[in-house]
Amino acid sequence: MSIRIFVPSDTTARSLGADQIATLIQAEALSRGIDITLVRNGSRGLLWLEPLIEIETDNGRLGFGPVTSNDVQTLFEQNFYLGQTQHTLCVGLVEQIPYLKNQQRLTFSRAGITDPLSLDDYLEHDGYTGLDNALIMTGQQIVDEVKTSGLRGRGGAAFPTGIKWQTVLDTPDEQKYIVCNADEGDSGTFADRLVMECDPFMLIEGMTIAGLAVGATQGYIYLRSEYPIAHQILTKATETAYQHGYLGSNIRGSQKHFNLEVRLGAGAYICGEETSLLDSLEGKRGLVRAKPPLPAIVGLFGKPTVVNNVLSLAAIPYILNKGGQAYADYGVGRSRGTMPIQLTGNVKYGGLVELAFGISLNKLMNDFGGGTRSGRPLKAVQVGGPLGAYLPENQWDTIIDYEAFSSEQAVLGHGGVVMFDDSVDMGDQARFAMEFCKVESCGKCTPCRIGSTRGVEVIDRIRAGERTESNWQLLEDLCETMVDGSLCAMGSMTPIPVQSVMKFFPDELRHERQE
């Protein structure tokens, strides 16, 4: 019988040589006359172990990682393909690895297990059961299920998804749209990418259910151009779904229709903001629109539109399969369900950790992350992307919960955790926050467009020791102006990382680090 060997095909595995390893494994097996079936699976999200090669055995899948192309020869010499475990890279049965075993995977339950492009795999692993249920429900029933789940948008603003859908359902129109925000611009985040690269049918299913719920027959996935592999995989998966009647007209013989197209962005962070994204989808510069009207009422091409993050839509198949209550049973307070946390930056065991809300940041960074990659002391953590606060040590016991983060003047955002060791210069980080806003501002309003430029200048003066106290005061005022006077969160949240540095690391901002 042919031996199944799995080599992940996601961006991270490939960025560390997975394609070359796959080729070498094929060649080595051929020259040794060993009958193997090579499967390009998704990633388990244990990214420090990538490329993580797995062998199917009677007891489950056995893992080897991180493999380099130099290891392929010795892996064969030590009969890894027969399930022999003596190779130094053997990590045992993959599902027994504590990092994975201790997670609560609802959204990422299939990631790494299946071949992302195999519809059969998807169906065998509970795929499309949510859609089957949705096809015999009314739109209102679907929306109610989503409300019961307590799901809040995972793109950053944490707005209740069910309420957004209700608005679109209640706004009558011939044409409505479902737009998936796959712009994932925040540094330190890759959960959307993993969904798209490891389980694309789940996203397609989630969007189809959203279409049924609100009465929309056209969907767009707005994907950032920085994700070429996600683009390839999504495009192929969409074609497959059309071929098998899961997209298009008369879905599964239901007389219901849903069309889906993948559109590429073009390298603008602001296009992750939903109204700027809609302008971009309409073929324009990505300028932010004033709200109201809400996109739910006047959205894409002026029509009622659901704009949801990838993770929000990817949670929908589970909710429609197991019921909203099953999802709501996880979590704390008003943060229901699970949050896929992304451990990144200077971290020993970086990767995706999906857990119910409520775990502390410290536990994530230490029990899962294993501390810093450099082995030096951890100094600061930026959570929630470039507009998120830098948290000093005394805030590391904050729990993963939207409200807990806001009470610390921090944001959970899309769940990216970026760890920094003590070699970081926090003054540099504050400056970068302003510089980033200067580069990425859409330019529509003054506090953001001009404020960020002035912000960089003032920080430079403070660091050069020029009239430090009055410039410090000026920076405080500038931050306030940006918070109060900006049209969107780009301008109003850029001060968050800056103010966190002013508050918790003032000395490093005052004095340029001498080395």
Partner: protein, 163 residues
């Protein structure tokens, strides 16, 4: 990697005609043209405007808004270095300096031999295994200065093979 070659305006027109009926077609059109030519030359702007019933200013405005679109020829390989915070925490600032020094160019510039154009990028979604760079459609993780040099050497060799 791009294959350098001649392009023809009639093919550009054809690309536009194939895509222009899509709702909000301008970005797909620009992507397709850049894919075909390697950049979006100034003299195709009036053609796009004409075919799509837009003003030149509108088309130009869109091209200039997005970092991904180039209105001038780039090198054979586009090398993007991630500047995101997660990559900063593992040394991308040093990598950035090393790249500029060894290639002897700044961002948005092309090496004399024409093999490499250097660009900044803000996050490649490879943040657990940085520093990350992208060479055309390939992403590379944990890039040390030595690894960077090797990868650049590959880019140059490809150019020589291509003549």
């Amino acid at each position: 990697m791009k294959t350098p070659g001649q392009w023809q305006m009639k093919n550009v027109r054809e690309i536009i005609q194939q895509l222009k009926e899509k709702p909000g077609a301008l970005l797909p059109v620009l992507h397709a043209i850049q894919q075909y030519i390697g950049h979006i030359p100034d003299n195709v702007v009036p053609v796009i405007a004409d075919e799509m019933l837009l003003t030149r200013a509108e088309v130009h405005g869109v091209i200039s808004f997005y970092a991904h679109f180039h209105n001038h020829p780039t090198g054979q390989n586009i090398v993007e270095i991630c500047r995101g915070e997660a990559c900063q925490s593992v040394g991308c600032r040093q990598l950035e300096k090393h790249a500029k020094n060894t290639l002897n160019i700044d961002y948005q510039q092309t090496t004399d031999c024409g093999s490499i154009t250097l660009e900044p990028v803000y996050c490649l979604g490879n943040c657990a295994t940085g520093p990350s760079i992208r060479i055309n459609d390939d992403i590379h993780g944990r890039v040390t200065p030595e690894r960077f040099d090797e990868l650049m050497e590959n880019c140059r060799q490809h150019l020589q093979e291509a003549g």
